[in-house]
């Protein structure tokens, strides 16, 4: 892993009226890293991620994504990232192939590229039989894997995953993480939010958010050692106990 920075965040803050959703956070993510963003519901993970994706304008602080500024260069950022949201975001009334083609198309990929890569992706996901079926008819786990493949189809520098494995069974979650590793191996930086603590163990580095602030940031091993905990679950419980705001 080299030292090129994929994401830099410097004193980033987002306020909604009197409510400070993200409070003065700073961190850096290296290229090719799998960076986990943990926190309870309402800790500010999604808000932070939305700012980095250019969906939300920060109240103060600086950040760059793939070298572009989140205030003025959001359109350039969008060209270089992939995004998979909390809600399932493929079109249920389009087929597997049509969804791939649509998203690849709006990222400006050539027909040639789309055609070749679609075949590869469908084969990797073992969706050959389902390629021309409506996405609606797929089980949730398959849909999520497909959504991830679509999010990195245009070969972005960074992919943002917002709780990608919600409601998915453990086996499929395992497979999903295999996909993430494969993507990281090709040099894609992965920025993932989750509240499954076992998933945190898969990350190169994790950052734990509590009440809009970063409470801890390190490799899972170091965090466990520092907190004297056997698992990330314990680390999280110890840190999260201090939280003032709960579910919102």
């Amino acid at each position: 892993m080299n030292d090129v920075k994929a994401i830099t965040v410097d004193h980033l803050t987002k306020k909604f009226g009197n409510f400070t959703a993200v409070d003065n956070i700073s961190f850096e993510v290296k290229k090719g890293e799998i960076f986990g963003f943990l926190g309870a519901n309402g800790a500010g993970k999604t808000t932070a991620m939305r700012m980095l994706c250019g969906l939300s304008i920060p109240s103060s602080g600086n950040a760059t994504v793939a070298g572009f500024d989140v205030y003025h260069q959001t359109e350039k950022i969008k060209k270089n990232i992939g995004y998979m949201s909390q809600k399932f975001s493929l079109y249920e009334d389009l087929t597997v192939k049509e969804n791939i083609r649509f998203y690849a198309g709006i990222y400006g990929k050539s027909n040639e590229f789309i055609k070749n890569k679609t075949g590869v992706v469908i084969k990797d996901l073992h969706l050959e039989k389902e390629a021309n079926k409506l996405v609606k008819s797929l089980p949730l786990g398959w849909k999520q894997k497909l959504a991830f493949s679509v999010a990195i189809f245009h070969e972005p520098e960074i992919v943002f995953l917002d709780e990608p494995t919600g409601g998915v069974d453990p086996v499929t979650r395992r497979e999903f993480w295999n996909l993430i590793y494969e993507a990281a191996a090709t040099g894609i930086t992965v920025f993932v939010t989750t509240h499954y603590m076992d998933e945190a163990e898969y990350c190169n580095r994790v950052c734990i958010m509590v009440d809009g602030r970063i409470d801890a940031m390190d490799t899972p091993q170091q965090l466990k050692k520092a907190c004297d905990a056997a698992s990330m679950d314990e680390v999280f419980l110890k840190l999260a106990r201090k939280a003032l705001r709960s579910d919102t």
């Binding site: 809600k87 249920e92 709006i106």
Partner: protein
């Protein structure tokens, strides 16, 4: 431009895959065009009449048969007193009472004048007015016949006579459907444009796919165009189908140039699609979008001059019709289809509509936000 192509491809696929929406887009206009014009008919015929004949003379009977033979009136009931016939009116059995007093014939011949009494249920003012007018003209005619029978060999007509000749242009058979069908067609095109387009966008909000679109490099205008164009095309297709139906089932052949209609419709659709977009940017659920579109469309339609004449509205309501795009299209449609007005005649309406399209779409694009 390439992105736009992919957006359009997706929209069309989704529309054509959703059979229930397709049915609404294509079947609803057809059924409505086939049914509604039959109901929307102000032409007065079948006016129910109750007669009280105290006279029972040849003249009274002649008058009654003349009334029933006119084709406008249906003799509902004979009663022996006014109070009894009033019950007919109260029960809605009858719209009109004609009371012929005793010695009607005798007085007419001996005293040179006689009286008739007519009472009309005037809850529906127009109906009452027209019904009364028809009846009076029948009586006048009857009167004239009697007079000419009694005044033998008039040396010269003592009666001053201004002869009123009326001619009805553009629709000589006074076919009400010629008037209604083009108007109803406008409503249908409007529904496809604003209603469906706004629902479509709000649906992407509700299911969350709009988030995904927002992180892609698609430009605002590309997304908006991707939504507008399919419904614009559908609107024009519905218009074409509608014109075909009017021709096939009602024999309405546009007196004016079809290009004028389609040209105007193209701009009109842009305006109502802009309205649909605007609604979608201000709502977050399909239910809200539906209620608001419904409320607006109802006011637009009822104040658009489809059913009632705009000239008869009070001043403030006429002002409201000026900011109602539906008014202009109904007007233009009727002008072109029935009177054969050309582009020069509708230039003003066209420019106003262009203004609507620019304002509404500009507003919608500005308020559609990719970031919060």
């Amino acid at each position: 431009m390439r992105s736009l192509r992919f957006l359009l491809q997706k929209e069309f696929r989704q529309i054509f895959r959703n059979t229930s929406i397709l049915r609404i887009i294509f079947l609803m206009p057809i059924i409505q065009l086939l049914v509604l014009p039959w109901a929307a008919d102000y032409e007065m015929k079948n006016i129910n009449i109750t007669v009280i004949d105290h006279d029972h003379s040849p003249y009274s009977r002649q008058l009654i048969s003349k009334i029933t033979a006119s084709g406008y009136f249906i003799l509902q009931d004979y009663t022996s007193s006014y109070n009894q016939s009033l019950v007919d009116i109260e029960k809605d059995k009858s719209d009109l009472i004609l009371e012929i007093p005793a010695s009607f014939q005798k007085n007419l011949i001996k005293e040179n004048e006689s009286k008739l009494f007519v009472a009309v249920n005037a809850i529906n003012g127009v109906k009452a007015n027209l019904g009364g007018a028809y009846l009076i003209s029948i009586i006048r005619n009857f009167n004239g016949n009697i007079r000419s029978k009694w005044i033998q060999f008039p040396r010269f007509n003592p009666e001053l006579n201004i002869n009123v000749v009326s001619s009805d242009w553009y629709n000589p058979e006074m076919n009400y459907k010629y008037f209604m069908v083009p108007g109803i067609l406008v409503i249908l095109v409007t529904l496809v444009g604003s209603f469906l387009a706004s629902l479509n966008i709000v649906k992407e909000k509700e299911i969350g796919t709009i988030e995904q679109i927002n992180v892609t490099p698609i430009k605002k205008y590309q997304f908006v165009l991707g939504k507008l164009i399919p419904f614009w095309v559908l609107g024009l297709i519905v218009l074409g189908i509608g014109l075909g139906i009017s021709r096939l089932f009602y024999g309405i052949i546009s007196a004016g140039n079809l290009f004028v209609i389609f040209g105007f419709a193209a701009v009109y659709l842009l305006a109502v699609l802009g309205l649909g977009l605007l609604i979608s940017t201000y709502t977050s659920t399909q239910q809200q979008a539906m209620l608001i579109s419904f409320f607006l469309i109802m006011i637009f339609v009822l104040l658009g001059g489809l059913y009632t004449s705009i000239d008869s509205m009070p001043h403030w309501a006429q002002m409201m019709t000026k900011v109602n795009p539906v008014t202009y299209f109904i007007e233009v449609m009727r002008m072109v289809v029935l009177k054969g007005s050309g582009f020069a005649d509708i230039k003003n309406q066209f420019l106003i509509m262009l203004g609507f399209a620019m304002v509404l779409n500009g507003w919608a694009v500005l308020s559609y936000r990719k970031r919060y």
